[in-house]
Amino acid sequence: MIIKTIRRMFGWTPEGKSCEESLRLLQEYMDGELDDLTASQVEKHFRMCKACYPHLDLEKRFRERLRRAGERDRCPEEVRASVLAAIEEVEKAG
């Protein structure tokens, strides 16, 4: 435990990235914007570190909630039909 804490303080853990670095990269990691090596190091850290894993979990839950609410709406049929009609009109006009 003490060794782990000291290692983290110096920014190094055998699991990959340090806690600080992993939390700093959390957004880009979740957005799939890290290069493969960094992503696997961050992933490894979150999998191994009990202190950091809940942060990832919380962020996942938040984003899942946004996605579900955001995806709810569908384009109404009448709008779809009017878009197609407008395009056909322009197409006919040449």
């Binding site: 957005d31 809940p54 919380l58 938040f62 955001g70 709008v79 779809r80 395009i87």
Partner: protein, 206 residues
Amino acid sequence: MSTPDTAREAGPKREEFETEALVHMDAVYRFALRLAGGEDEANDLVQDTFLRAWKAWHQYEVGTNAKSWLFTICRNLFLRRVERGKRHRSTVDEQAPRASTSIGGDIVNPLWSATSKNDPEGSFFDSIVDDEVIRAIEELPEEYRTAVVMSDVEGLPYAEIAEATGVPVGTVKSRLFRGRRQLQKALYEFAVEMGYISSDEAWEDA
């Protein structure tokens, strides 16, 4: 939407437009709705976006990112309208970010500090109804709202959001970071107000 047969009869441009652009009509509608905030304006925006896209189809490179191209057109139309109505103002100061809100400036999310004791898994998010989540998204400044919707709802990568909104990737990252934090705060406060979570720990911006 017409069948593939009628699309073929209508010619290759129409067929291409069907398979590349019209398949994104739900996504463009959702985006327009989040930008405009009302159905009537969103309906007009969708129609104008696809008409504009049809007329400018020769500028689109088939097989590239049609969704973000359509979002670009939609957002430009929206911004032009609000500019005409003098309603739009940028509410974010991207030139002078506070150190505490810059990416990495506050490594531990205030949401974590506020919820770690009572609800570390964030299950309160699931108690909040869709309408409230949508309301919180629509209350974000336009720049943050656009970035959050493009990324978290529509799944666009930073580079495409940057291209669609005409800003560097770093700005996209920062808009996402701040937009998400604002949303988390708004949803947390709503959950406290509704009693979904007790607030032993106050929300503290770093």
